[in-house]
Amino acid sequence: MTNRQEMDVHSLKELSAGQSCMVSLLHYWRAMWGIIWRELWRFVTQRERFISALVRPLVWLFVFAAGFRAALGLAITPPYETYILYEVYITPGLIGMIQLFNGMQSSLSMVYDREMGSMRILMVCPLPRWFLLLSKLLAGTGVSILQVYVFLVIAWFYDIQAPLQGYFWVLPALLLSGLMLGALGLLLSSFIKQLENFAGVMNFVIFPMFFMSTALYPLWKVKESSALLYHLAQYNPFSQAVELIRFALYGQFNQLAFIYTLVAFVVFMAAAIVGYNPSKGMMVRKGGT
């Protein structure tokens, strides 16, 4: 090849790279919207999934919380300014539960997609892998937010009512907590090779995270029974996500919970991106997507 030809090839590559950058923003937007739309559409058309996602927290609210109401006395703790019913206390925890299960459900669908092959179509499209994972995560979070608002509407009719502006302020909190829990699911999915292994996630991740948190009992109550459990609950990122939601629902900003949840999201997401990187992550060891 002559020098001239080499230069032409080089210029062609640079030109293509430049053109690619010019159109890329629109490309990114369309791809992200496409991924989110697909996830939302699949969710609303899968009626069984929609209903089962709601039944779980509603059973906890109507059966478990109603039964516990008499057994558990709650002192006045922020953000609450008066004595509250146990159902009121548990509602943010159940919102967290919806997002926790949804995050894990999304990761389950990633493992399924990987086994079935449809994940490949996503991974071979001409966009950076971190962006595709982030889009997938946003899509899953969007689905969880949809579930949460339907749950809140039902809870409203059950007389569990937050201040009206709380329903607005809880949205950014739900976005962050949903992203954090979804990123955790994404990270786990990069480790799981087969769908069968997912049962382990239920036993070793979802249940411990939920029960060792402030979703069901306030921290001071946990401290009364066990110091170890108290510390585990305190440093559990799920507890911080629940507190972020709890405060936001009453129009208050919990700075510690916000920072903790944000940091947890960044850590989980970064690890998931590494996990899905064909050069570095678990994919190399597994020899698959």
Binding site: Q5, K13, Y28, S118, R120, I121, M123, G287, G288
Partner: protein, 246 residues
């Protein structure tokens, strides 16, 4: 570098742990050429495809798509690539149209352009009238047609097909083989077709025989036959692979 070289694979090796899947694989594919990658199960065809599509990392060797290094210029390279995987990758619960729209979104196409391209590609494969049907309702042959249409929506320069006719009845198989060969000639598309079926090879195809991760033959069908002193591709394959079953 010739401008017509669409896919270049140079000294590519890959191992799963200690097991070598590909060893020093090199070949080039030109635009307008249909290249058949012939090899038995376990020859390394799917591994090679996973490396070209960057699902696996290239640790030894180099792959270029239209002059772009797949490892370093991944997005630019993948823009020029259309893929039909061995397993179906369509979403069964979405319609044909929804599946194709999803693909156009991933490739950043606008709505108008997307609709136009979807119509063109589906009409060419006589599937446009079935665009509102869920993929689950289609038979295997029709699903494959949709996957080929999808792989072509963004007008790639290189089309990879990983055993796309597996499990199809004879008429569906022949129709797809004929269609892809026509595409290569008419659209100046570089096609790499992994197969273990000899009757999918046309006399003027480029043939690569892959066996135990190594390229055993690489050239036009006639040249491979001459070099291996064999009257048929089947004989050439047996001679080159010491009698392994395809």
């Amino acid at each position: 570098m010739s401008s017509s070289i669409a896919l270049s694979v140079e000294e590519l090796s890959f191992s799963y742990g200690g097991k070598k899947a590909l060893s020093q694989v090199s070949f080039k594919i030109q635009s307008g050429e249909c290249t058949i990658l012939l090899g038995p199960n376990g020859a390394g065809k799917s591994t090679l495809f996973s490396l070209i599509t960057r699902l696996y990392d290239t640790r030894e060797g180099r792959i270029e798509l239209c002059g772009f290094d797949v490892k370093r210029q991944t997005c630019l390279a993948l823009e020029r690539l259309g893929v039909v995987f061995q397993q179906t990758t369509l979403d069964m619960d979405l319609t044909v149209l929804q599946n194709l729209r999803y693909h156009t979104a991933l490739h950043g196409m606008g709505r108008k352009q997307a609709e136009q391209r979807i119509q063109q590609e589906l009409e060419r494969l006589a599937m446009y009238d079935r665009r509102f049907e869920k993929v689950r309702q289609l038979n295997g042959g029709h699903r494959r047609r949709v996957e080929i249409a999808r792989a072509l929506l963004h007008k790639p320069s290189v089309l990879l097909l990983d055993e796309p006719t597996v499990g199809l009845d004879v008429p569906s198989r022949l129709a797809i083989v004929e269609y892809v060969h026509r595409l290569a000639a008419e659209e100046k598309l570089a096609v790499l077709w992994a197969s273990h079926l000899i009757d999918e090879i046309y006399p003027d195809d480029h043939l690569i025989i892959l066996h135990e991760g190594q390229v055993k033959a690489n050239g036009m069908v006639d040249d491979v036959l001459k070099a291996s002193h064999a009257p048929t591709i089947k004989d050439a394959f047996y001679a080159l692979t010491q009698g392994d079953q395809i």
